[in-house]
Every structure is written in structure tokens, then in C-alpha cells.
């Protein structure tokens, strides 16, 4: 086995590992989020209600920042697999595209958390 083949395999094994670790974090976050959604959606949504709960709420901010971070790790790895297996894109291209998507999620996700928490 050549050096480069081995380092590629190790990188791929690490990606598998981090996708599963982030999945464990997401399982908890998503469960809490689902419960929260089901509760919050009763009687319709309004900006006043939502922002009343979230503004200045740093516990809320930490929870959702963690949620966003876990997504930004988890989604690109899955996306990379799907692009490599189901499209004609090369391994390299699909890796770059999915990483780009991950950065996009991280930025817009944290921006969204800031948007609802900042007083």
C-alpha cells in the first residue's frame, strides 16, 4: 500500500468517525428541537413570540450554536458520499463542493442564531 493511498484511507476513516460523533450530538439536539417545535408551533408563529423567547437567551444561543456546528460537520460528509456515488463528479470535486456547503451552513447558521438572540 502506497503512502498516499494509506493517508487517503485514514482521512476517509476519520471522516466516517466524525460523521458518527456529530450524529450522536445531533440525535440529542434534533430530539430537543423537534419537541420544542411541536410545542412552539401551537397557535401559530409570530416574531414577537419567537424573539420574546430567544432574545438575550444565552443558553438558547449555546444550544443552537452547538446544533449548527454539529450540522456543519455532519452534512458535508453525507453529501460527499451521495455526490461521489450518485453523480459523475470526481471524488475531489465532490469533496470540495461539500466542504464549501459545510462552510456555508456554518456561516449562515451562526448568523441565524445571532439574528434571534442578539438583543
Amino acid at each position: 500500500m502506497t503512502e498516499s493511498t494509506l493517508s487517503l484511507a485514514i482521512a476517509q476513516a476519520r471522516r466516517w468517525y466524525w460523521q458518527r460523533i456529530s450524529a450522536m450530538v445531533l440525535a440529542i439536539c434534533a430530539l430537543i428541537h423537534l419537541a420544542g417545535m411541536i410545542w412552539a408551533v401551537r397557535g401559530g408563529l409570530s416574531a414577537a413570540e419567537i424573539l420574546g423567547r430567544t432574545q438575550g437567551n444565552w443558553g438558547f444561543a449555546s444550544f443552537y450554536a452547538l446544533f449548527v456546528l454539529a450540522c456543519a460537520i455532519h452534512v458535508p460528509i453525507g453529501l460527499h458520499n451521495v455526490l461521489t456515488e450518485w453523480t459523475a463528479l470526481s471524488e475531489q470535486t465532490s469533496l470540495r463542493l461539500s466542504r464549501l456547503f459545510g462552510l456555508f451552513l456554518l456561516f449562515f447558521g451562526l448568523r441565524a442564531v445571532f439574528a434571534v438572540v442578539a438583543p
Partner: protein
């Protein structure tokens, strides 16, 4: 039970077509019986493989009505609805002729997954003492009955999506050897099966376990490999 079966059989190589034959139907008839009848009485140029014809060697594996099976162990009564049968070679392998595939890549991948034993003792040494009920030995035993028939390889979608993917049989064999305490090349083996060409591309589609005629679970073996190799990779031991 009507008198005749309408049987479509693949003729040619990867490029080819199904040709229809009419075959008399019998009680307790297997799909291998059907193929044999066609070659002996209707089409002598039909190429197919078989050996033991009693479910021990795995040579007669083909695609029957879209699913990979041992034809000697597939009763026509079980699979022929409306007296129709479709018989094709195993998927994901080059076709030599008609129902015969080139199994070389299947066995090459077995080798690439380090699916062979290497020990350190000679016949002049004491036997290795391996407890049969140890966790490792039980894990190995669950997978060692594989006879390399190729049904799992032909059933796995990841094999068709990733040309480098070692496949369920090779990885299953590797897992039995990872659990063999006498083997001396475990690091090489872990390196061989880690990554996207190895166990980490298994998406638990489960077709291998569903179709294995020996009721082995390559999915479980591969899950074991994932744990062992990821742990080693993250600890820098790969």
C-alpha cells in the same frame, strides 16, 4: 401446475439480450435443472457454471428474477410466478459468456482486503490455544463458512457505485481474520480495509445479509471493521 415454463435466459456478454425458451415443468424442479435442460436439449451453445449441484460449492450462483441466488437451491415453484423465469449472470462482474462471469476481480479484492492468514508458528511449535467461546473466536466463527460464491458481491449496490469497493465477502473474510488471535499482520489488514474502498463505504443497505445463502451477515462483520479501524485511525495507530 401448467406443463411448461417460459424461460428468458441471457445470451452474450455484457452486451447481449434475453432469449426465450420453453421448458417442461416438473415437481421439485430447481432453476439449475431448467438451465441444464436448455443446454442439453434446446441450446447446446449455452454457457453456464455448476459443480456440486447440492448447495455446497456456490458455483451455480446466477441472477434469478432479478435476485442473486444459488440456482441448485432455488426451487422453480418458489420463484416462477405465472410460469415465468428470468435467468441472467451475476451482476457487477464481467461476463465471459451467457451465464458465466469472470470472478477474478472478486478474488483479487479478497486478496487486497488481506483476506488470507499469516501466522508465526511452524509445525515444530506447540498448537496455539484459542478458546472457542472467546468473544473473538465467536465473532470469527460467525463468518468463516463463506465459500466465495459471489452472491453478496452481486447484490451490493455500493459495489456498483464505487468500482474500488472491496465488497461484502472480502470484508467479511477480513473480519474473521482480524478476530484470529494467531494472525501476525493485523496492522496491514486494518490499513487494507479502512477508508472508502474498504469498510467505511458500507451504507448498511443490507442486501448482502439478505441474500447470503449461508446466512452470514457481512453487514455485522463490516460494522466490526468500522469500529476497529476508526479507533486505530483516530489514535494514529493505522
Amino acid at each position: 401446475m401448467s406443463k411448461n415454463l417460459q424461460v428468458k435466459v441471457w445470451r452474450g456478454k455484457e452486451a447481449g439480450d434475453f432469449v426465450s425458451y420453453e421448458v417442461p415443468r416438473h415437481e421439485s424442479q430447481t432453476v439449475l435443472d431448467v438451465v441444464t435442460h436448455i443446454q442439453r436439449h434446446l441450446e447446446p451453445s449455452l454457457a453456464y457454471r455448476f459443480a456440486c449441484r447440492v448447495g455446497m460449492c456456490g458455483s451455480c450462483a446466477m441472477t434469478v428474477n432479478g435476485q442473486a441466488r444459488w440456482t441448485c437451491r432455488t426451487h422453480v415453484a418458489k420463484v416462477a410466478s405465472n410460469d415465468q423465469l428470468e435467468i441472467a449472470p451475476l451482476s457487477h462482474l464481467p461476463v465471459i459468456k451467457d451465464l458465466v462471469t469472470d470472478m477474478r476481480e472478486f478474488f483479487d479484492k479478497w486478496h487486497r482486503a488481506q483476506g488470507y492468514f499469516q501466522g508465526s508458528r511452524s509445525r515444530h511449535d506447540e498448537f496455539a490455544a484459542v478458546k472457542p467461546d472467546s468473544a473473538e473466536r465467536r465473532a470469527a466463527n460467525a463468518g468463516i463458512e463463506c465459500i466465495g460464491c459471489g452472491v453478496c458481491y452481486a447484490s451490493c449496490d455500493v459495489v456498483s457505485w464505487r468500482p474500488d469497493y472491496l465488497g461484502p465477502a472480502a470484508l467479511n473474510r477480513s473480519w474473521t481474520l482480524i478476530n484470529d488471535v494467531r494472525d501476525t499482520q493485523q496492522q496491514d489488514r486494518m490499513r487494507a480495509v479502512a477508508g472508502d474502498a474498504g469498510c467505511h463505504s458500507c451504507h448498511t443497505t443490507g442486501s448482502c445479509t439478505e441474500r447470503c445463502p449461508k446466512h452470514i451477515s457481512p453487514t455485522a462483520a463490516i460494522a466490526g471493521l468500522k469500529r476497529v479501524t476508526a479507533r486505530a485511525a483516530v489514535r494514529g495507530k493505522l
